[in-house]
């Protein structure tokens, strides 16, 4: 779950990291007021959950409050990689002597956190790592033993930085490591961390990502930052359809019937589980089908939950039929899913036989499930029909209708 730049900076400031004077503007008047209060040239930065702001023209410099106000109006409507801004950060502009990069993240291969440091900040770190590997250090650290400042010192020193720069950078990098661990972040990044011409070190830009699973442990911080529980902070904001899907999933603790994502197609999908859904979604597309949605069911969801999900998918404009498919199930009962989807069709005023293009869920309690499907005239298949073939049958029905 990504934080906006201004939220990341609020978190950094809370931990004593050095920042320039700034304020968050939601209106032209606020932008003018903040620039006037700072009383020197400012930079205006659109607040979006995406990189590439500079390239999109969503970062601009202003010498006067009037200019800041005009630029606010100019950059607020700019869409950056599909992200719309609602606010602009107005921050003091300072002459830079040197830019550094520091990021803390997880290394899934080593299964440890790693701090990445470079004395060539301000640009894409992956590019620096390729072109100037000796200017990028990677230092792993323990999650069990206390992390003392020597980790930060070694990370910085490995790029050849010494003298007072080393000593002044160390506490900042150390603090970033502490913030990363304390708040269950998956990324804590400052780019650039700069030394100004007057010798001060300042966090110029940065962002953090918090692990979705850990949100419950950090409610106080999220509330302090004004991040609402329903904000998913994915690459794009959730649609009403997706929010409704999350509600279906939360309505009942039994099993999963969620992770709903809307697409433009006409074939509704009631699919599972995690890996099965990825496999089936690919299969539908490979056959030329147009999915109306992605979703995941699993962990033996109740009849009610499956029924509600079915109704939600059928209620999506343009959905003519649904395909109900999973991999061979272990702990999800086939008969319960069958009951749920049939009930969902009936409660939507649709004929299950006509609406369910294919039912392919083999596994536990399949005989009971197949009996119910037969009674309602729904086409089903067992494990002798592959996931790919089942998806093909569903797509063929869509093309025939």
């Amino acid at each position: 779950m990504r934080f906006y730049e201004h939220e990341s900076k609020t978190l950094f400031a809370k931990h004593g990291m050095p920042l320039g004077k700034s304020g968050l503007a939601r209106s032209t008047e606020e932008a003018h007021g903040i620039a006037a209060e700072i009383g020197q040239p400012v930079v205006l930065k659109s607040q979006v959950l995406s990189g590439g702001r500079m390239k999109a023209g969503a970062v601009k410099f202003a010498d006067t409050p009037d200019e800041a106000a005009a630029l606010f109006d100019e950059i607020l409507p700019i869409v950056v990689n599909g992200q719309h801004a609602e606010s602009v950060l107005v921050e003091e502009k300072s002459p830079i002597a040197q830019e550094y990069y520091v990021g803390v993240t997880w290394d899934g291969r080593r299964k440890l956190p790693v701090v990445i440091f470079s004395d060539m900040g301000g640009i894409d770190i992956e590019e620096v790592a390729e072109t100037h590997p000796d200017h990028v250090s990677k230092t792993h650290f323990s999650t069990l033993f206390p992390v003392t400042p020597r980790v930060a010192k070694e990370a910085i020193g490995a790029t050849g930085v010494s003298g007072s720069d080393l000593n002044r950078l160390t506490p900042i990098v150390h603090e970033l490591i502490q913030v990363f661990l304390k708040y269950d972040l998956t990324l804590a990044e400052i780019n650039p961390l700069v030394r100004l011409e007057d010798g001060r070190f300042v966090v110029l830009d940065g962002h953090v990502d918090m692990e979705a699973e850990a949100r419950g442990s950090h409610e106080a911080l999220l509330e302090e930052l004004g991040i609402q529980p329903e904000e998913t902070r994915q690459a794009r904001p959730p649609t009403d359809f997706e929010i409704a899907g999350a509600k279906v999933d939360a309505s009942d603790h039994r099993g999963v019937a969620g992770n709903v994502v809307g697409f433009d197609g006409d074939l509704g999908l009631v699919i599972g589980a995690g890996g099965g859904s990825l496999t089936l979604f690919d299969a539908v597309r490979k056959h030329g089908g147009k999915p109306a949605n992605y979703c995941e069911i699993g962990g033996n969801p109740s009849v009610k939950k499956t029924c509600e999900l079915t109704k939600l998918v059928l209620g999506k404009p343009g959905v003519e039929k649904i395909a109900v498919m999973m991999n061979v199930v272990s702990n999800t009962r086939v008969d319960i899913v069958a009951r749920g989807v049939i009930k969902g069709c009936v409660e939507s005023g649709r004929d299950p036989a006509d609406t369910i293009a294919i039912f392919r869920i083999p596994g536990a309690w399949e005989d009971e499930g197949f009996k119910i499907l037969k009674k309602y005239g729904v086409e089903f298949c067992d494990r002798s029909v592959s996931m790919y073939q089942a998806a093909g049958r569903a797509v063929a029905k869509m093309q025939a209708s």
């Binding site: 995690g274 099965g276 496999t279 991999n327 592959s386 073939q389």
Partner: protein, 301 residues
Amino acid sequence: MSILINADATFIVQGITGREAVNLTRENLDYGAKIIGGVTPGRAGRDVYGVPVFDCVRDITAKSHVDGSVVCVPPKFTRDAVFEALENGIKLIVIVTERIPRREVAQMVELAALRGARIIGPNCLGLISPGEAKMGGIGGPAANTRTAYSKGPVGVMSRSGGMTTEIANTLTAAGLGQSTAVSIGGDAIIGTSYAELMPLFEADPETQAIAIYSEPGGRMEAELADWVRDNGSRLPIVAFMAGRFMDEMPGMRFGHAGTIVEGKADTTADKIERMRAAGISVAERIEEIPALIRERLGETS
């Protein structure tokens, strides 16, 4: 032969009185597993399908040798349960629980390394050596497990629990049994990766080939490709890659917690390229796996 577990392995279930744990205990017992105890704090003296329940892991390890533990407790208590198993000398820990933050997983993995133990999972269905024993919910009820899994020469590794059974079932239907199938878990950090299981399969005389299920996100396939190249593996590997549509949607999370495309190396296209370069066959569809394995076995024999 098999890897990690065999018919003689003894294990315990932590959180044994929970709904899911009760089910998997029964399914494992029905499949022939030797579950010698269960742990739920405050529930000592009860039993679950004849398995005695204790308050502490120590109450079991003090009296009997325990090879492994299946940890099936809520996410908030998982780290504590795993630490308890590790500090009482258990060397194989299967974590079923999902939605554990990475920091806690990393702590468990770090302690396991210090104690010379292995973690499978989290967010996995466990493992099975067909015809011998299974640990965890893999395959479901014993009768369903026997339908999908059969004994044979193929080692299976999968980031998806459900797809482990789908692949095993496809192999079984084609007359190819499995030596051991491991649901390794779908999180960004897991106890044991494909590459880390390879030496075990290499050392197992029964295993003649490997089938893997793979997804977008992470560097685990790159690690496997590196391992295969660096170690000159004797085992042909056939991989299936799901979630190809995600390459077009960076930053969106589908499927498991570990599947998110953040960089170029996370895409399925990049992973497929790396694996093919290392000599791993990549199947377009699950049902192609058996034929590809036979083809590869023909090549090497």
